[in-house]
């Protein structure tokens, strides 16, 4: 019992020392609270995968009612923003070349004449393929616009030439409904996702810096000669950053609910416990990196590159995991953010509890144990 008391005392002492150092730097306090907040707000307000207001330009060699109607159908859809009418094909191509537009439309001279004679007319549509994913989506929209224009033309034609036929009829009717997020408001997915993203980066970076600083400045030798065990030292050091991260979590959670109005339907206590586990994973990543490298600059760069981009790209926050290639799916199965994002979706929107989160919890727990064990292992080697 008394050994346990001593161990607890040691951990508290390390944590207290870390806390004193933290509060002695007002800049550090301000920044570690403000920078996650700033990042959170920026991402929530500015991040959007919606395809809208796509800039386009066109050249209309026909200049008749039908060709104007065709262009108008694009303008009226709300997906496209007109940059300007051009007088030649070269100008339209130039707009695409300098990335001023995403779409260029070329209407030939005989457009109206051919349609008036009940013939096919051709329209050339040029799409900027720089960002292929977006180009695919743009292509879909363009083809949709064109199909709609055609449906109207064909209906008109049927009505005129084939009297008695049901030109208005639509054989298939789609009845889509959406669960968990009926309005398909992308904020409901995005805002909790950004929250999970922010509370992964900061604990990892802070612990990486905190540990590597002592190693680099030689202060670590005080620890080597002290009766502290590696576990006591690492755990004590982590405690502060866990606490800071939980405070940040609470603040961001409040903003998510009250400012962005994302509904929270699940169990708060469950989410709180799992968040602590998740933040511990992040802190473990920082410790592991700092245990491996000698200098702060390296720890800093590695922790940034190892957390920022993967958490963003591979976790399913940005794109569904099923859509990724096989290597990327392996990366995503290892990363804690993948599990945490799923927990966030289940808690916020699907409103289910603990019982549905067992695999995710297991994923986080395995990672946390593994990363702490790795950090301890490599840290020990350096002492010897």
């Amino acid at each position: 019992m008394s050994r346990l008391r001593i161990a607890a005392g040691n951990i508290v002492a390390v944590a207290w020392r870390e806390f004193r150092e933290f509060v002695s730097s007002p800049l550090l306090i301000t920044l570690s609270i403000i920078s996650p907040l700033l990042m959170f707000m920026l991402f929530c307000y500015g991040f959007s995968l919606d395809v809208r207001n796509m800039p386009f330009s066109y050249v209309d060699f026909c200049r008749q009612t039908a060709s104007r109607q065709y262009i108008d159908s694009f303008l009226a859809s709300g997906f496209f923003d007109l940059v300007g009418e051009r007088l030649s094909l070269d100008e339209v191509r130039h707009d695409l070349l300098i990335d001023r537009t995403r779409v260029g439309i070329v209407i030939p001279e005989d457009f109206s004449r051919r349609l008036a004679r009940d013939r096919n007319a051709e329209v050339q549509i040029l799409i900027n393929g720089t960002n292929a994913s977006r180009a695919v989506i743009v292509k879909g929209y363009v083809e949709g616009m064109n199909a709609q224009f055609n449906t109207n033309l064909v209906r008109e034609f049927i009505r005129k030439n084939y009297a008695g036929m049901d030109a208005e009829f639509e054989p298939l009717s789609l009845l889509p409904t959406t669960w968990f997020n009926p309005s398909l408001d992308s904020n409901n997915n995005l805002v909790p996702g950004v929250l999970g993203f922010c509370i992964f980066l900061f604990p990892a970076m802070m612990t990486a810096i905190a540990l590597s600083k002592e190693k680099e400045t030689g202060m670590i030798f005080n620890v080597y000669t002290s009766p502290l065990s590696k576990f006591q030292y690492l755990f004590g050091k982590t405690l502060l950053y866990l606490a800071v991260s939980m405070v940040i979590f609470m603040v961001l959670f409040a903003i998510t609910i009250w400012h962005f109005g994302v509904p929270f339907r699940g169990e708060f206590l469950t989410l709180l416990v799992l968040t602590l586990l998740y933040v511990a994973c992040a802190a473990g990543v920082g410790l592991f990196i700092a245990a491996l490298v000698r200098t702060q600059v390296a720890a800093l760069l590695i922790s940034m590159i190892a957390t920022f981009l993967p958490a963003f790209l591979y976790s399913g926050f940005f794109m569904p995991v099923e859509s990724m290639g096989p290597d990327a799916q392996i990366i995503s199965a290892i990363l804690p953010p993948t599990y945490y994002f799923s927990i966030l979706r289940l808690s916020f929107l699907k409103g289910v509890g603990w019982a549905y989160m067992l695999p995710q919890t297991a994923g986080l727990a395995v990672f946390a144990v593994a990363i702490f064990a790795l950090a301890m292992f490599f840290f020990k080697k350096r002492i010897g």
């Binding site: 730097s25 800049l27 550090l28 920044l31 570690s32 920078s35 307000y45 500015g46 995968l49 809208r52 207001n53 070349l97 300098i98 990335d99 349609l115 008036a116 013939r119 096919n120 007319a121 051709e122 329209v123 050339q124 799409i127 393929g129 292929a132 989506i137 929209y141 083809e143 949709g144 199909a147 033309l153 008109e156 036929m165 054989p171 298939l172 009717s173 789609l174 009845l175 889509p176 959406t178 968990f180 398909l184 400045t217 200098t295 702060q296 600059v297 800093l300 760069l301 590159i305 981009l309 790209l313 794109m319 099923e322 990724m324 096989p326 990327a328 799923s342 979706r345 289940l346 549905y356």
Partner: protein, 377 residues
């Protein structure tokens, strides 16, 4: 002449210091090679959208319609015979959408009644659900068209004698819509940017933290010589790293055609590095140690990366943000770089953003250098 010699010797010191740091060199190499390589497997397009089909009609028509939800966009992961398991499947995230084709689908179609098809989406990933719905709407329209033509007893060829607009869609610069191209290049440029902003700040604050800055100060070296040596070293490292990434991964492993000139890319990178090292200097003057540097850098870096249009194209941003992006040097750098990689642009097409980048660089650098002098001289 003396200055030049001094800077060269200082750079040799910086290089030695840098290359002794294996972990740092390792992560830089990783960031420009392996990291973009795996990012190539990511896509924002609809891929393998998992669905369950409950075909209650079990007819030829219903099977034919369901078969139109094809790979690689959709993946019919489950076929169910009642709607009972639907709720659990959607909560678990086992499938992202359940399509219910009710009994009487075929009968309705032949009887010229409207045939309804129900779809229940998991709305938590609103973005993919929206894209999936638009794809399915397109598929349904096509199917409807074929049913209508049959009903009017017209062959599909007869559309040639209809007033009908054929859209000849052509995708420029990436005709096969190879998605990984953009992801690889954008990941490469993002990593390069992170290093470009972080490294100069870190190298400067490093010296400050260990008090070796004072040692340098008492030597006959001038402040600007110390500063320039650090900046030039970073620039050389980053430009070398960019060549490594371009030749090994972008052109090599991924076979992305580099349409523009690498020389021009180097020039643009150099101009950008000018601005980013100015930023690094500026940051180094306000912080005391590395933990502070990383946080300040982060505060600066994230908005800069964010506002550059890497992740969100400018047209999808709110207006106030759209106005801000013109103050971010990264906006111009990425703009020109994508242009060089994919569209083969050169100085003639991009001299405007390049001169804006240069102007921003001069502004930031002057500010950084002035503060640096005041602080250390």
């Amino acid at each position: 002449m003396m200055t030049f010699k001094r800077i060269i010797s200082l750079m040799r010191k910086e290089f030695r210091q840098l290359f002794r740091n294996f972990a740092l060199i390792g992560i830089i190499i990783y960031a420009v090679t392996l990291d973009p390589y795996t990012a190539g497997e990511l896509t924002l397009d609809l891929r393998e959208y998992s669905i369950a089909v409950a075909d209650m009609d079990k007819s030829v028509a219903s099977a034919e319609f369901a078969a139109r939800l094809r790979e690689p966009f959709f993946n019919i992961k489950r076929r169910i015979h009642s709607t009972a398991p639907m709720e659990d499947m959607l909560i678990d995230g086992d499938v992202a959408m359940v399509m219910v084709i009710p009994e009487g689908f075929e009968r309705n179609l032949t009887a010229r009644e409207q045939a309804p098809v129900q779809m229940v989406f998991d709305g938590t990933n609103a973005n993919s659900a929206t894209i999936a719905l638009s794809y399915i709407a397109g598929i349904a329209a096509e199917y409807s068209e074929s049913v209508m033509l049959e009903r009017w007893r017209l062959s599909p060829d007869s559309l040639d004698n209809f007033p009908y607009v054929r859209d000849q869609t052509r995708v420029l610069f990436n005709p096969n819509l190879n998605d990984s191209w953009f992801m690889v290049v954008s990941e490469f440029l993002t990593a390069l940017t992170m290093i470009a902003i972080l490294l100069p700040a870190a190298l400067t604050v490093y010296e400050k933290q260990f008090g070796t800055m004072e040692q340098l100060m008492v030597t006959p070296l001038r402040v600007y010589e110390i500063m320039l040596a650090k900046i030039l070293t970073t620039a050389v490292v980053i430009i070398l790293a960019s060549y490594l990434g371009i030749y090994s991964v972008i052109i090599g492993a991924k076979g992305i055609p580099m349409r523009g000139s690498i020389l021009y890319f180097t020039l643009v990178t150099a101009v950008f590095l000018f601005a980013s090292s100015g930023l690094g200097l500026l940051i180094a003057t306000v912080t005391k140690n590395l933990s502070e540097t990383i946080l300040v850098t982060f505060i600066v870096l994230v908005p800069i990366m964010f506002l550059s249009g890497t992740w969100t194209p400018p047209e999808a941003m709110p207006d106030w943000m759209r106005a801000l992006i013109y103050f971010s040097p990264l906006t111009y750098y990425l703009d020109i770089s994508y242009g060089i990689f994919f569209r083969g642009v050169g100085l003639a097409e991009t001299w405007i953003p390049l001169s804006l980048l240069l102007g921003l660089g001069v502004l930031i650098f002057t500010l950084g250098a002035l503060r640096f002098r005041k602080k250390f001289a």
